[in-house]
């Protein structure tokens, strides 16, 4: 047998309820989300024997956080950094570790306070001398992808705006969302340009908080009373900027097909999708690269409410996504998992809860699609899927 299909279950999930946090610290946020996810699973800190975190953990990764959190029974630690794509990757890696017998109860957690704590500066990469002096930023690097996509495929700013409109229509039903007021295409287009062609409302929110999920072996899952979400497949891929970057596609062209193959499902089988939405262009290009529509057709796919729950072509980001709900620590991958779990459990906000969700997709991106980046694609399903 190869692949991770059915090798583990997500049995607990917790999204920090706040979006602006004062008087706290990143370890405190992690403590809140880990205890919340364990309580949701019906497990305790003593049960945890696997830990998956990324570089936002203060100190030396898991070494510092496991001591702080009092997780003393951990025997498998992974501090894999893939930016916002880290967490769907962690779920896949946790499943593989569980299948290898290295742990039975794995916690994947993240948290951050970007509104009050300045982002930590990592050691400059070898590419920095040839890029950083030009005054680059995430929004500018995504804008370079958007501009080229428009040039090659005729994608319009109004089509990009539709991604934000759909997110806002979903977010109005999410009491915890940072932005709950529906917006129109015109309001997106009338918002100030930040990096052409991206407007302020093409950009995700900056929020404090975080989230955690608990991934367990089938044996542990069988002893728990709650709703279990089966891990069906996961794949990650890296796309270098390379000698001559092609900014019109993402690494999801590689992670997507491998994750679908492992899960034994096709894009047409997906009932709900959490698609990384650092910017509106991110969603549009990922829908193409994952095979929900042909390359270049993303603009037409998202138009006319294409991403809306119940009435759209594919229900995407029913919590309001990073564009309206939550993008904690500028890393959207964890919240993406949690909303997919809610849709499979039937616990999404009632107006956006889809009927009979069998298969859910989670798509993460780390760093910038107009340059080098990570992609991680995770497929989840019902217990009997």
């Amino acid at each position: 047998m190869s692949g991770i299909r059915g090798g583990a279950y997500i049995v607990g999930a917790y999204e920090h309820p706040e979006r602006k946090i004062t008087g706290s610290s990143v370890p405190q946020v992690l403590a809140e989300v880990v205890s919340g996810a364990l309580a949701d699973a019906g497990l305790s800190a003593e049960d945890v024997d696997g830990w998956f975190g990324s570089s936002e953990q203060p100190g030396l990764g898991g070494l510092s956080m496991l001591e702080y959190l009092g997780l003393t029974n951990v025997r498998h630690v992974e501090d894999t950094e893939s930016g916002g794509a880290s967490y769907p990757t962690h779920v896949g890696h946790a499943t593989a570790a569980i299948m290898a017998g290295r742990c039975d109860v794995a916690v994947v957690a993240m948290g951050g306070l970007p509104r009050s704590l300045p982002p930590h500066r990592s050691v400059p990469g070898p590419e920095d001398p040839f890029e950083t002096p030009y005054g680059i930023s995430p929004v500018a690097l995504y804008a370079l992808a958007a501009a080229r996509h428009m040039h090659e495929y005729g994608t319009t700013s109004a089509q990009l705006a539709e991604v934000k409109v759909a997110a806002s229509l979903h977010a109005q039903h999410n009491p915890a969302a940072l932005l709950r007021t529906p917006v129109t295409v015109d309001e997106v287009l009338d918002s100030p340009l930040i990096a052409d062609p991206l407007h302020r409302l093409d950009c995700c929110v900056t929020t404090d908080g975080g989230g955690a999920v608990v991934v367990v072996s089938p044996a542990v899952a069988a002893q728990l009373p709650g709703h279990k979400v089966k891990v069906l497949g996961q794949a990650e891929a890296v796309k270098p900027a390379g000698a001559a970057v092609d900014a019109t596609y993402t690494a999801a062209v590689w992670s997507g097909p491998r994750a679908f193959a492992e899960a034994g499902v096709k894009p047409g089988d997906v009932d709900y999708a959490s698609i990384y939405d650092s910017f509106t262009i991110t969603v549009l290009m990922l829908l193409e690269d994952l095979g929900f529509c042909a390359k270049g057709e993303g603009g037409r796919f998202v138009a006319d409410g294409g991403l809306l729950a119940h009435t759209g072509k594919l229900a995407v980001n029913t919590d309001g996504g990073g564009l309206c709900n939550n993008h904690p620590d500028s890393r959207g991958g964890m919240v993406k998992i949690i909303e997919a779990v809610r849709q499979l459990r039937g616990t999404a906000n009632p107006p956006v809860q889809l009927p009979d969700v069998q298969i859910a997709l989670v798509q993460g991106i780390g760093k910038a699609i107009g340059s080098r980046h990570y992609s991680s694609t995770l497929l989840l399903g019902q217990e009997d899927s």
């Binding site: 000698a243 970057v245 900014a247």
Partner: protein, 142 residues
């Protein structure tokens, strides 16, 4: 012909990576030199002195300086050293030699820079002697 000109935008000082000194030394002399691997024959971009196959054994060849805009954005909220510089055009330019470099297109209003526009390399020199590769539109009839 020297590509050097007085900078119209800030020129942040780029750290010089060991093994890549010839790139910056050439720019300081007003020349664009690109690194070719003597091992693979390929143009190495971004420049690096080694990879998993071993040392690249770089040969620095003078580039034509001609290119075409592949993509462009106007950065409307400049930050860091560009805080006071006003909006600028951040672009990918495809060089005649085949590589695509992240750069600025200067000399015209940033919103007038277009994908497909032919451009030529210039070397912006800051007051402190720092240098940075930028591009200007090719003049009509040039």
């Amino acid at each position: 012909m020297s590509l050097l000109e007085e900078a119209t935008l800030p020129v942040p000082k780029a750290p010089v990576t060991p093994g890549l000194e010839p790139f910056w030394a050439a720019l300081a002399e007003g020349e664009l030199k690109l690194p070719f691997s003597r091992v693979t024959g390929e143009l190495v971009w971004y420049p690096r002195a080694a990879d998993a196959r071993g040392p690249a054994d770089l040969e620095w060849r003078t580039a034509s300086g001609r290119g075409v805009v592949y993509s462009v954005t106007v950065v409307r909220r400049p930050a860091g050293e560009y805080r006071d510089s006003g909006p600028y055009a951040l672009a990918y330019v495809t060089l005649e030699e085949g590589v695509r470099v992240l750069t600025h297109v200067i000399g015209i209003p940033p919103e007038d820079v277009r994908i497909g526009m032919p451009v030529r390399a210039v070397v912006a020199e800051g007051a402190d002697g720092a240098v940075l590769l930028r591009f200007r539109p090719v003049e009509e009839g040039a």
